[in-house]
């Protein structure tokens, strides 16, 4: 049984509890069980069909949601993790290394959250320091050297705002990655798998294709942060989540992302294998498409894509 639930998932948990109890009773309750299962599936589909933007933020942050290392097991094979920026230290908030997908070697780089408090402290809740972004940069350049595509998985509340991070040039590390990714001579695919938190997400997110899970979010600021600044009240996060247009559908409309990956009815955490299959299908398809494009053309398209982003009026 899940030990954690989101407020809007509680009715689901209640039915799940009834199913468990019925199973424990033993004997023949086949019809009753089937009815409850049907009820659960219908309710789950219903609840997830009408999620508010803030509820999607909650799903994106769900502690049972698959993380980068999970997808490295389920979508990719032959993963070899590489460590360190060769300048300061290894940053466990961001994992990276060689892996195989669709029969070819790729470089996978992703933010990594922890499953429990201890691991979260070690991984700093996936909030990278400059050395994390510099590790990512080093390995992107390694991929370029050996003509391997780069796949990045975004799942971070943001770049870490601390003393050491500032001292070691958080802004410079992010800025350098943006510059490098703009010119990287190998295909780049980014998948937002959970939280896309501002500059800390974009630092590994300048790509030829950006795809996003249905219940993931991508935003310039967290709803809590936005509410605190605009209305001096972090409690107004629902209002901010609504206003920020941070859902996959919104971002597809705004031209920020290229594709939405459907999640299983109860969210990626309810069926991680189905989520992995959907992610794998999308990545393989984009990889095959990008492999057919000559590198000069790929870079030109990457540049044009980002040059066209934004909305303004020219009088």
């Amino acid at each position: 049984m899940p030990t954690y639930s989101l407020d809007f998932e509680r009715p689901l948990l209640e039915i799940e509890r009834q199913i468990e109890e019925l199973k424990k009773l033993g004997g023949d309750h086949g019809d009753e069980l089937a009815a409850l299962e049907r009820q659960l599936a219908a309710l789950r589909a219903d609840v997830y069909k009408t999620l508010t933007p803030m509820q999607r933020v909650q799903v994106a942050r769900h502690p049972k949601r698959p993380y980068t290392l999970d997808y490295l097991r389920t979508v990719f094979t032959d993963f070899v993790e590489l460590h360190g920026d060769r300048l300061f230290r290894d940053d466990p908030a961001l994992v990276a290394g060689w892996a195989r997908l669709d029969g070819q070697t790729v470089m996978v780089i992703g933010h990594q959250k922890g499953r429990d408090t201890k691991e979260n402290l070690r991984r700093n809740f996936a909030m990278a320091h400059p050395e994390g972004y510099r590790k990512a940069l080093r390995l992107m350049q390694l991929a370029e050297k050996f003509h391997a595509p780069v796949i990045t998985l975004v799942d971070t509340p943001g770049a870490y705002p601390g003393l050491g991070a500032e001292e070691r040039g958080q802004a410079e590390a992010i800025a350098r990655n943006l510059l490098a990714m703009a010119s990287l001579r190998t295909p780049i695919i980014t998948a937002v798998i959970g939280e896309g938190g501002s500059g800390g997400a974009l630092a590994i997110g300048v790509a030829d294709r950006v795809v996003m899970f249905e219940n993931s979010v991508y935003s310039v600021i967290s709803p809590e942060g936005c509410a605190a600044i605009l209305w001096k009240d972090a409690g107004q996060k629902e209002r901010a989540a609504e206003a920020l247009k941070l859902t996959a559908t919104d971002l597809l409309d705004l031209g920020v992302i290229d594709e939405i990956i459907s999640e299983p009815p109860g969210g990626a955490h309810s069926d991680p294998d189905a989520a992995a299959q959907a992610l794998g299908e999308s990545l393989r398809r984009h990889l095959r498409q990008l492999a057919r494009v000559r590198i000069e053309k790929l870079l030109k398209r990457r540049e044009e894509k980002y040059l066209s982003m934004g909305a303004f009026i020219e009088k």
């Binding site: 500032e166 802004a171 800025a175 943006l178 990714m181 703009a182 630092a203 934004g310 303004f312 009026i313």
Partner: protein
């Protein structure tokens, strides 16, 4: 050469006080030094006593940096849209127009600096805290493209609290948008000088502001990814004295030098001459 530091012959303070009205005096926010307003103006809003650099407008930076009469403003017709229909954004923009003019949080143009052609962008903190939305991103990108096409050096004076929330992820994407053009400048070997003024934080510091071939900061300017308040909140303690200042950044190897406002023009002109090296020299306005 710091011409503004030259003391003019002090008149008798008695006479001065008698001659000039109360509103002609100016007080330094930093050290409390009181002086005749004109002295602050002549010193480009730098305190004659402690050297504190007070914030100045985009127009004043243009005047400080370029050869007289050489400024040609570009892209004056760009205005913010409201792509997210974000509540009260339109009103906030109207307020900013009244306060800081209709050119949004950056002004761009071409000019000459010691006779050398240069494309210059100057951010305006008075316009919604210098926040970068689509208009800022587009103007900077167009100017950088102009540099790439004509082989003219790029200079950007930054002053910004970061991305403009009211344009959501579109404002975040302006970091990528400006970066793809600055990457082109890098490939073509066209110099880009970044000048950081107080404050330069968030999305602007994490994109073009920190991408300069040479990065200069004004004395005392606060520069960082996260603002001091956010860091303080995160770590739950006060920040060390001088944390995130221009001087701190030089010490930590993040910027090349701290240059007082009065020396910006000569220093950047000299740097441009050094970096003009192997560029094609046919560059014209």
């Amino acid at each position: 050469m710091a011409w503004f530091k030259k003391e003019r012959k002090p008149r008798s303070s008695e006479r001065v006080k008698l001659e000039i009205p109360a509103d002609a005096w100016e007080k330094c926010d930093e050290c409390g030094h009181i002086d005749i307003k004109e002295r602050f103006v002549q010193a480009l809003s730098v305190c004659p006593k402690c050297g504190h650099h007070r914030r100045i407008s985009a127009q004043e930076y243009i005047d400080v940096l370029v050869d007289e009469g050489s400024w040609h403003e570009l892209d004056v017709k760009l205005r913010s849209a409201d792509p997210l229909a974000f509540e009260s954004y339109k009103d906030r923009v109207q307020v900013a127009y009244k306060k800081a003019g209709e050119l949004d949080a950056v002004r761009t143009g071409y000019a000459r600096l010691h006779g050398q052609p240069v494309n210059l962008a100057v951010m305006d903190f008075a316009f919604m805290g210098g926040s970068m939305g689509s208009v800022v991103g587009e103007k900077v990108a167009r100017l950088a493209q102009r540099s790439a096409e004509k082989g003219i050096p790029l200079m950007i004076v930054s002053a910004s609290g970061g991305a403009r929330m009211q344009e959501g992820a579109l404002s975040l994407m302006q970091m990528a948008k400006t970066s793809v053009v600055i990457a082109e400048l890098a490939r073509k070997g066209i110099p880009f000088i970044s000048i950081l003024t107080n404050p330069t934080t968030g999305g602007v510091s994490a994109s073009y502001a920190m991408q300069g071939d040479v990065i200069i900061a004004e004395p005392g300017a606060v520069v960082g990814f996260a603002g001091p308040r956010v860091i303080k909140q995160t770590i739950g303690q006060d920040l060390p004295e001088g944390f995130q200042t221009a001087e701190f950044l030089v010490e930590h190897g993040m910027v090349d030098m701290v240059v007082p406002r009065g020396e910006l023009r000569d220093t950047t002109a000299q740097l441009l001459r050094h970096m003009a090296g192997r560029r094609p020299v046919e560059a014209a306005d």
